[in-house]
Amino acid sequence: MKVLYFAWLKTRIGTGEEDLTPPAGVANVEQLLDWLATRSPAHEDALKARKLVRVAVNQEFAGPDTAVSANDEVALFPPVTGG
């Protein structure tokens, strides 16, 4: 699974992209975020304000229940501020 981070999530976690193999129990976005938060103190810190974390799965906005699997591209980012 390719996991991307943008804006302050990237800054805090210290990388913009990780290639990961989540454990078997990780089947949706919420479970993925829970698991990511355990990967390092920086991950935990960045994912603390969970309400400010938006997720896209394969470049589509996703909710906590959206399914994720090994070949997905999952992006984590704060609410968008373009325009």
Binding site: F6, A7, W8, A56, Q59, V80, T81, G82, G83
Partner: protein
């Protein structure tokens, strides 16, 4: 047409290209977003030195195309355009241009408002402002959500 680019654009040239050689267009509405030199940072005004726009290559193009398609579904447009820049920008620089051409002005004006409202809340861009207090990621505004929500209301054109 959508474009995501680092380089600047010329508003006049872009608008001209949209209507060139056509005689069926009654109105051309456009909105350009520019970098302002001041920002409200926690109640006080801070001078912006530069602003950097980060985006999600791939998803950005996809979302802009979806937003443009939605505007064309809701209003009878003869032409539409979204250009959004990324990378480092200075105060006064262009950030974004949206434009809609239609036979009737209200279609062009409404679709233009719609494009910028949806861009603000659905396009994966993030602004980082460099002020004298250091870099600050811009927080999303609730007012932008409100403006975007207008287009989801039961009475809105869909």
């Amino acid at each position: 047409m959508i474009r995501v680019q680092r380089e600047d654009f010329d508003i006049g040239r872009e608008l001209k290209a949209l209507t060139a050689g056509r005689t069926d267009i009654g109105g051309l509405a456009s909105f350009a977003g520019l970098v302002r030199d001041f920002v409200d940072a926690g109640g006080k005004k801070a001078a912006i030195q530069t602003m950097t726009l980060e985006h999600y290559p791939g998803m950005t193009e996809k979302m802009l195309a979806e937003i443009e398609a939605e505007a064309n579904k809701r209003w009878p447009l003869q032409a539409s355009l979204i250009i959004h820049r990324f990378g480092p920008l200075a105060p006064g620089d262009n950030i974004v241009l949206v434009a809609c051409a239609a036979a009737h002005r209200e279609d062009a004006l409404q679709a233009c408002s719609f494009l910028i409202d949806w861009l603000k809340t659905k396009a994966p861009f993030w602004k980082c402002e460099e002020t004298e207090d250091g870099p600050q990621w811009v927080a999303a505004k609730a007012s932008d959500d409100d403006l975007a929500a207008r287009w989801d209301e039961p009475g809105a054109r869909k």
